[in-house]
């Protein structure tokens, strides 16, 4: 799951870096364990494998230098730079006339930023997994997720609040936390009984939101594309367990068309608090 997210986000980043800086001939990322994470459009996998093979000897004995931070090869017509970021090796191949500082600024800022972002996104379900191990009262969400707040209120009794007629109902909104924004990958959802105005996301994410807004119903979300399009749609938990915990949002074709997006693209999803 993490690999898919990493790969998608990093591949896009690498392509953008190359668009931004055409002097970068090739750019790709591999892991310490030799797994290819992402490669730019013009870097075939066979090339990445050959590069990794070339670095084998250095990486195997890296401990002698205290672990590798970077490798730079300078040649008459260009250079190859390897930068180690959190166990990922970012390789860039540039022309001889490329502005080294500019390339470094782009690659060494953008890639680590995307890595951090992706880690943050993918760490959300992980946090929930760790919570599951803690002895807590069981919270059951019905398949339809019709009224999640009611279910929670049954299992987690909350002290009765004294009703004050004079207090306006809207007052607590002032203390409501900012709605969290989750970046999710669009996945298709189809079938005869699929409502066209409803997206499905992880149960865990819904529970997290519910924890944040204990007394509020979360029945709708705002889906925003990176192109700036947004829409309000109903939300329900993902039914199919094989899609759980993958950081995806299942979306009917109608909504995808309205937002001009397709399967595999990233969108921002945030709860709408009533």
């Amino acid at each position: 799951m993490d690999n898919e997210i990493y790969s998608f986000a990093l591949k896009t980043t690498l392509n953008e870096i190359q668009n931004l800086c055409p002097d970068i001939k090739n750019a790709f990322i591999f892991r310490e364990d030799g797994e290819i994470v992402a490669g730019g459009e013009n870097t075939p996998e066979s090339t990445i494998v050959r590069v990794m093979d070339s670095f084998d000897g250095i990486l195997e004995k890296a401990e002698a230098l205290g672990g590798i931070e970077g490798i730079a090869l300078e040649s008459s017509k260009g250079r190859v730079d390897v930068c180690c970021v959190n166990g990922f090796y970012l390789v860039t191949v540039t022309m001889a006339n490329a502005d080294k500082n500019y390339v470094n600024t782009i690659t060494r800022v953008l890639v680590p930023t995307v890595l951090k972002l992706v880690e943050k996104i993918s760490s959300a379900p992980l946090k929930n997994e760790s919570r599951e191990s803690e002895p807590k009262p069981e919270i059951h969400i019905p398949e339809t997720m019709a009224r999640p707040t009611e279910e929670m209120s049954i299992n987690e009794p909350t002290p009765e609040r004294p009703k004050r007629i004079l207090e306006p109902e809207t007052k607590p909104e002032l203390t409501l936390p900012e709605p969290p924004v989750n970046q999710l990958i669009v996945e298709n959802i189809g079938g005869l009984l699929v409502p066209a105005d409803t997206v499905r996301i992880d149960n865990e994410t819904l529970l997290q939101w519910q924890e944040l807004y204990k007394d509020r119903k979360i029945e709708e979300v705002e889906v925003e594309t990176f192109g700036g399009q947004s829409t309000r749609v109903k939300v329900k938990p993902i039914k199919d367990s094989k899609f759980e915990g993958k950081g995806i949002v299942q979306m009917p074709e109608k909504i995808q068309n309205a937002l001009e997006i397709r399967k595999g693209e990233l969108v921002r999803v945030k709860p709408l608090i009533k």
């Binding site: 070339s54 084998d56 250095i58 730079a72 090869l73 300078e74 040649s75 250079r79 190859v80 191949v93």
Partner: protein
């Protein structure tokens, strides 16, 4: 420079022993320069090798094998990647570790690696050695 090369080739054809003497002189010059560089603060040693001999001078002899592997791997990687990406002649490879760094390059037939602390200016060392 081209002219000089021609002269050398000519001499090779006529009198081979003189070339051997020249080579030895070059190696001796490099070694002398490396000895000088080794005295710089932060430089922990060097590896110099060619087809007929190898000199290793490291302050910590327990790391000789590791350093020798990194040295030869980096020079090989430099050549392989230059070919792979069509980057022309490999000039030098710098490997930066968390504690140490290594600079490798080829001078004529001699493969040289200099090991130093992270804060040492490797560019300065490269200029000094390439100015031979």
């Amino acid at each position: 420079m081209v002219k000089k090369r021609k002269d050398v080739q000519h001499v090779v054809a006529l009198t081979e022993p003189i070339t051997a003497v020249e080579e030895a002189t070059t190696v001796n010059n490099i070694r002398a320069q490396l000895e000088d560089i080794k005295n710089h603060e932060g430089v922990v040693g060097y590896i110099l090798r060619n087809s007929s001999s190898a000199s290793i001078d490291l302050k910590d002899p327990t790391k000789i094998i590791d350093y020798a592997i990194i040295s030869s791997s980096s020079i090989d990687a430099g050549q392989a990647l230059s070919e792979l990406f069509d980057l022309g002649q490999a000039k030098n490879v710098a490997v930066e570790g968390k504690n140490m760094k290594m600079l490798s390059f080829t001078l004529e037939e001699n493969k040289i690696s200099v090991f130093m602390d992270k804060n040492v200016d490797s560019e300065k060392i490269l200029k000094k050695l390439c100015g031979l």
